[in-house]
């Protein structure tokens, strides 16, 4: 039903193969696609969740991790309310790239964007990055931190719910930065037919 109160855009970034698409699929469709191919360009999913009895619509943009798509994926950062930076806890290089990603975010995203660091694949036995290392890194750069497993559905729901809660809080405090088009593409001054089909503040 078209009766959400808030609309937030969430963008997932991170190296290729860290499990961004799987996280999104797990959250939006409740499944873990084995043998998920590499994302091309950008993928899009939508999910409406309920926070404090209010409906929140999450527009989730799942970007390709591959270097060659970097230019198009960067163009999606700008309008994001939240950026989820994902790495693979069983793969040191994906963690080592985080500073580069932060630099990119710094450059292309809104500076008030909510940033969440996610260490994915906790189900793996061959962990290379201890949890506290990830936590440290997140703390140093002012990010939220969470470890997840898309395969075991661990913390996935929580991740997005917390984002929704946090963003809603920000929105309520009117702290949410004014984005172009944050009202959704077609939020007109329609003779609103009572059911509050319009989103977000204003």
């Amino acid at each position: 039903m078209e009766d959400y109160k808030f609309l937030f855009k969430v963008v997932l970034v991170g190296n290729a193969g860290v499990g961004k698409t799987c996280l999104v699929r797990r959250f939006t469709q409740g499944l873990f696609p084995p043998g998920q191919g590499a994302t091309i360009g950008v993928d899009f999913m939508i999910k409406t969740v309920e926070v404090d009895g209010e409906k929140v619509k999450l527009q989730i943009w799942d970007t390709a991790g591959q270097e060659r798509f970097r230019s198009i994926t960067q163009s999606y950062y700008r309008s994001a309310h939240a950026l989820i930076l994902v790495y693979d806890i069983s793969c040191q290089p994906t963690f080592d790239c985080l500073p580069d990603w932060l630099r990119e975010i710094e450059e292309y995203a809104n500076n008030k964007v909510l940033r969440i660091l996610v260490g994915n694949k906790t189900d793996r036995e061959d962990r290379e990055i201890p949890k506290h290392i990830g936590e440290d890194f997140a703390q140093r750069h002012g990010m939220y931190f969470l470890e997840t497993s898309a395969k075991e559905a661990e913390n996935v729901e929580r991740l997005f719910m917390e984002i929704a809660v946090e963003l809603m809080e920000q929105a309520k405090c009117k702290e949410l930065p004014k984005y172009d088009g944050s009202l959704g593409p077609i939020n007109g001054k329609t003779t609103s037919v009572g059911d509050g089909s319009c989103c977000l503040r204003s």
Binding site: E2, P185, G188, T190, T191
Partner: protein, 815 residues
């Protein structure tokens, strides 16, 4: 539904209930008995839905709904809102059949209704489209896109400031990158994405009040999405037709994503104004970098050609400029590829480039070349490729410019050539590269009049370079002269030194008056530069062959009685120098002999001189019997077993000056000058007779300056060989040779001086008065100069060549 229908069919005056029911949006309220109280528009909307989605839209009821919305347009927004709600519910419940019907109904309403009433309906319509796009079902996404495209084709006359296309651009771009498992649906989704983008572009570009599509945030999505689809094509065929963009839309279904993406890109570019071009180009360049699309170059060339063809012609320069700014970035291979792309497109821009932009492009290319040369030899082959590509670009560009600009460009390039007497390696390299560029440009120039092709300053610069230290550079220079001199495609026929001109099939026409004036002005400078060029120790066979071609071309192009004599003098001088120039190797001596006899044989071909032809033929026959090596073809290495066969030892096989002058006289050619002339000073009298003053004034530093400096009037410039000859021969073996040289030299010198005096007198007796006036005006005090000239001429001591000190070398190199 039938209940609703039968109870209230034709009922009027239900609208008063609207305000009451309006708030009733609870889904539970929408069915059952409550519907009896529903406002009319809702009933009409409900009625268009069949009982089962398979039955499709109820056509008759749809007509009623359409009629109703046309007659009471103020209800249109509510109808839209209601349809949207119904569809949202159906999507939620996954009843896609009904969703499709709702969308169809909205489409029909959109098309049927007048634009001024549509404004608010459109909001619901677009919400609906968005809703469908948000679903994961490809079918719905494609449906939504089709509706959106339909909407995009409608002209709205009320601006909608608040409408945003942000989501659509993002979503359509994402669809362009669909990686659906099967190729069929994947292509359809991608097609839909491209169509959607096309729709957004159409909707927004024409209207300044809506979203600015040219902003980076949109372009960064649109352009890579289009390119991504284009690059998957199997082969790239560029059509120049700029109006390919119109054919998108409905019939797009049969198209492939690459073709449609191309059409869309053309569409976009055609609408770009000057300020927007950059915003399109930047993502293009980034995309190429990111996806490593520069190599191989076909795709890059394809795309940039599309850009050039689609863009408004007056802006094409800025594409070239943008590409040029990017040239230096990137690794060697990419650089070369970019330059190749530049070469491919620069011609398209040339037609519309004007004024300073032309020189700016040239200058830019030259700067890049210089940078490349300076970067030097780290990656030689890649750098070479890069330079080649740049030079090609230059040639390509020049090819499309009008001729008068080509000359400007050549002057511009020639001024950039470093002219140091002893260039460093880098300088020599740059010299070489720039001359290559010059040759490329020169090859595109079609000479009509020599004086237009060789403005004085340009000619001077070229001739100065003809004594460059690098033999290969000198070859290039000669080739430039060839391409500029040759008007009748004679170069290939004269490329090899030969005696057999009948077979060559030369095309000869009578020399025009303008050309005669030109050659009488600049002939001396040209001839002596060529002569000097033949005297260099470092000459290879190629050098000599090239100079031969140049002189032969001059013979062909300037075939007239007036010039014959001068050419003959030059030829004889070359023959003489083969014997008298001590720095030449045996091979070079033989080659010069072959060149001079060949050139002499050419003269009767371009002018009717039967006696001369006979005489030359006799000499040739004689040589053929005894000294085959003094005849063409040129060989790289002459191994003479017998030293008595050296050119210097067979004076009886030389062309004789007196004999030749007899022959010429017999054919009615005035050749008084020929009789007295000696080694090479052939140009001297000529110059004095006609216009030594102009040459002096035009070239800036010629006889006048030299005279003022108190040196030998002019032809001294051509006697370094004499100056050097004596010591060399002394160091050599035979006293006999020395004596002969001294005698010959001084005799010649004496004749020479007498000749010069005669010529000077002649010049002052015959030169038109206004001519002299004209030249006096600028800055020379002609009176004084003339005094000096006369003094220096008459007082000139008759020095033996061995004692005479030649003027300093750099001056020699000038002419």
């Amino acid at each position: 539904m039938s209940f609703v229908k039968c109870c209230f069919e034709g009922g009027e005056g239900q609208d008063f209930l609207d305000s009451f029911v309006q708030k009733c949006t609870d889904p539970g309220c929408c069915c059952g008995c409550c519907s009896a109280l529903r406002p009319r528009y809702k009933r009409l909307v409900d009625n268009i839905f069949p009982a089962s989605p398979q039955d499709g839209l109820v056509k008759s009821n749809m007509e009623k709904l359409t009629f109703y919305s046309l007659s009471s347009p103020e209800k249109l927004d509510r109808i839209g809102e209601y349809l949207f709600q119904k569809a949202s519910r159906d999507i939620y419940r996954r009843r896609h059949g009904f969703v499709i019907i709702a969308m169809e109904a909205m489409d029909q309403l959109l098309v049927a209704c007048h634009s001024q009433t549509l404004n608010l309906f459109v909001e619901s319509f677009l919400k609906m489209v968005q809703k469908l796009l948000e679903s994961t079902d490809p079918q719905l996404q494609i449906l939504a896109t089709q509706s959106f495209v339909r909407f995009a084709n409608i002209e709205e006359d009320t601006p909608s400031y608040h409408r945003r296309y942000d989501f659509f651009v993002s979503k359509f771009s994402a669809m362009c990158h669909s990686n659906h498992g099967e190729p069929g649906p994947r292509d359809r989704i991608r097609l839909a994405g491209i169509q959607g983008l096309q729709g957004v572009i159409r909707k927004t570009v024409s209207d300044d009040l809506v979203e600015n599509i040219w902003e980076a945030q949109h372009m960064d999505k649109i352009v890579p999405s289009l390119l991504y689809n284009m690059q998957s094509a199997e082969k790239y065929e560029t059509v120049s037709c700029a109006e390919g963009g119109g054919a998108g839309g409905e019939e797009g279904e049969e198209e492939s994503p690459p073709r449609l993406a191309e059409a869309c890109l053309r569409d976009l570019l055609a609408r770009a104004s000057f300020g927007h071009i950059r915003s399109v180009l930047r993502p293009v360049l980034t995309h190429f970098d990111r996806h490593d699309l520069w190599i191989p170059t076909d795709f890059a060339v394809h795309v940039f050609k599309i850009i050039m063809f689609s863009i408004q012609a007056q802006y094409s320069y800025s594409v070239v400029e943008a590409l040029m700014q990017q040239l230096e970035a990137g690794r060697g291979g990419v650089r070369a590829a970019r330059a190749a792309v530049l070469a491919a497109i620069v011609g398209i821009a040339a037609g519309d480039s004007v004024g300073p932009s032309v020189l700016e492009i040239i200058n830019n290319i030259l700067t890049n070349l210089r940078a490349s040369v300076a970067r030097g030899a780290e990656k030689e082959t890649e750098e070479k490729l890069y330079q080649e590509a740049l030079i090609n670009a230059l040639g390509e560009f020049a090819d499309h410019l009008p001729d008068y600009q080509k000359i400007d460009i050549m002057m511009f390039i020639v001024n950039k050539v470093p002219g140091a007497a002893k260039p460093s390696r880098a300088d020599a390299m740059l010299q070489h590269i720039l001359l290559k560029s010059l040759l490329k440009v020169g090859a595109t120039y079609k000479t009509t009049e020599l004086s237009k092709a060789f403005p004085a300053a340009f000619l001077e610069a070229l001739l100065r370079l003809s004594s460059a230290t690098e033999p290969s550079t000198r070859v290039l220079l000669q080739r430039i002269l060839h391409t500029l001199l040759d008007r009748r495609d004679n170069v290939p026929r004269l490329a090899v030194v030969t005696l057999d001109y009948d077979a060559a099939g030369l095309s000869v026409e009578k020399c025009s008056r303008q050309d005669l004036i030109f050659i009488s002005k600049h002939g001396y400078a040209i001839f002596s530069a060529l002569y000097e060029g033949l005297q260099l120790e470092s000459n290879s066979t190629e050098n000599i062959a090239c100079i031969y071609t140049t002189i032969a071309l001059l013979c062909v192009e300037l075939a007239a009685d007036d010039t014959l004599c001068d050419l003959m003098l030059l030829i004889l001088a070359i023959q003489q120098s083969s014997i008298s120039n001590p720095v030449l190797s045996v091979s070079q001596q033989c080659q010069l002999q072959a060149v001079s006899i060949s050139l002499a044989a050419l003269l009767p071909h371009v002018a009717k001189l039967p006696r001369l032809a006979d005489y030359i033929h006799k000499v040739v026959e004689a040589r053929r019997e005894e000294c085959g090596h003094l005849l063409p073809p040129l060989q790289h290495d002459y191994r003479l077993s017998d030293p008595t066969l050296l050119p210097a030892k067979v004076p009886y096989l030389m062309m004789d000056q007196m004999a030749i002058s007899e022959c010429l006289k017999a054919s009615g050619v005035e050749c008084g000058r020929l009789q007295g002339a000696a080694p090479y000073c052939g140009g001297g009298p000529l110059q004095h007779r006609h216009s030594w003053i102009e040459t002096g004034a035009a070239a800036g530093r010629d006889s006048l300056a030299d005279i003022a400096a108190g040196t030998e009037p002019d032809s001294a410039a051509s006697s370094p060989t004499l100056a050097r000859q004596a010591p060399a021969e002394c160091a050599g073996v035979s006293l006999e040779a020395l004596r002969r040289a001294a005698e010959g030299g001084s005799g010649a010198e004496r004749r020479d001086a007498a000749q010069r005096r005669r010529a000077l007198n002649l010049a002052f007796r015959t030169a038109p008065f206004h001519h002299l006036m004209q030249v006096t005006q600028p800055k020379y005090e002609i009176q004084e100069k003339l005094e000096e000239i006369f003094r220096s001429v008459s007082e000139e001591p008759l020095l033996a060549p061995s004692l005479k000190s030649g003027p300093p070398l750099p001056d020699l190199c000038l002419y």
